[in-house]
Subunit: 258 residues, 2 copies
Amino acid sequence: MNARRSPQSPAALSPATATATATAVAPRYRQVRSHVLGLISSGTLVAHDRIPSENELVRTLGVSRMTVNRALRELADDGVLLRVSGVGTFVADERVHAHPLEVRNIADEVRSRGHAYSARVVTLTTLRADAALAARLGVAPDASLQHSSIVHCENGRPLQLEDRYVNPAVVPGYLKNDFTRITPYEFLVRAAPLQQAEHTVQAVMPDARLRRLLKLDADEACLLIRRRTWSDGRVVTAADLWHPGKRYELSGTFEPLA
Amino acid sequence: MNARRSPQSPAALSPATATATATAVAPRYRQVRSHVLGLISSGTLVAHDRIPSENELVRTLGVSRMTVNRALRELADDGVLLRVSGVGTFVADERVHAHPLEVRNIADEVRSRGHAYSARVVTLTTLRADAALAARLGVAPDASLQHSSIVHCENGRPLQLEDRYVNPAVVPGYLKNDFTRITPYEFLVRAAPLQQAEHTVQAVMPDARLRRLLKLDADEACLLIRRRTWSDGRVVTAADLWHPGKRYELSGTFEPLA
DNA sequence: GGTATCATCCTGTCTATACAGGTTGGCCAG
DNA sequence: CTGGCCAACCTGTATAGACAGGATGATACC
């Protein structure tokens, strides 16, 4: 079952090689990438659908096969597409997989998959560190900490609950941000250069709060990533990142230096 | 065949495409990648050093510039190199942003904590690959595979259930081992050098078998690490590593920048 | 019916060539 | 010495053409 035929494209992409239009034009392989992402985000193609073959895209978009190939290969690297040699290229299924313990901006990750990012702020508070938090952030017990609790969503579905504690002595003004417009990551990396990070990964059973905020199924486990980041030898922030077990996995390749 | 008669040069790479050697030859851009990684791991080049330009590598390695370009671009994407348009390509700083999951011997891990390691062999069987397993190991459906199911214990308590599938065409004699005396890891790294590994990490709910073998609490989630390792371009083994959520976590720390 | 073969399509890789635009260092004129 | 110009080099992108090898369906043969 091959399903959908190629949705007639409005012919070629940018004004071909019109030399230099005043404003910078995205590279062609980027335009091909956007075109395919558009087919997915518009709903024209959904998971498991076959996308037009490289040669079809060559004809409809008026670019060379190597250019199409690069666009599709990168989308496959990003997990958006699945390529099967000799068969075709398909829209990957929904399971989200992020890179191994990497410190990245979740909004960028979601957008790179061609999906809509949104955030919901659950709570923003200033609190006093208990013994565990004080040890985790390297501050005195009872020190003042800023705490945010934010749900990051992909296409409106919860992808991560982020419980974050920030040491105001290192980065002041954290709670003044509008976290529906800027992610904690974006603010913090600008405020304090990231120099060291520590991760732990655990599987946990969700409590009632988690089930509610992440809209979890009854029999769904949670992947918990706990992260601390340092700048200038001091802990900038500690975060608990909770992910729905059925829709999220870490993945990555490891290549020993030859 | 042999389209690529290579204009031989001093330190060319593989013997071009010598038809079908029994073992698959890595693509040329992969060989370029390995060559550059070798310069770094050998200490010939260190952080901030400039690496040979694309055209130099073209001359030294006897490949086309597009092939070199792909290798370097991918290494830059991985954060190994830093490319500056118009200037050159440099070895990047030590990585702060990513931490690969390493492949380690669980017996060493346990012993390094000063604890007693023991293993219980649950099953050892030869079986035929179904479609999913065939895809995972890159073999034909119905191909023969060797499977081991082993519980690794720390001080007598289950720490990991390892479900492992081995391609006997790559490493024969896997099931002949006494896995209470040698771990699958120890046998396999000796039989086939580890050249690449892929991991995914998920949180899952345990089924009855898992609860029994890992002696899990009723409300305990499971951390599932799925790993594939390659040698000479072929999948040596695929493993499902199940860990009790309450007693296991992955962790990693990144060194500060110089 | 079953089976073997072949044409066709697909992705994956590789090459040779080309042009763009940025950077750098040297050379020359003022 | 300074400033401007330019050649040489670098990466980034794009193209056309080619072959390899897997997958697939049609066709011819037994």
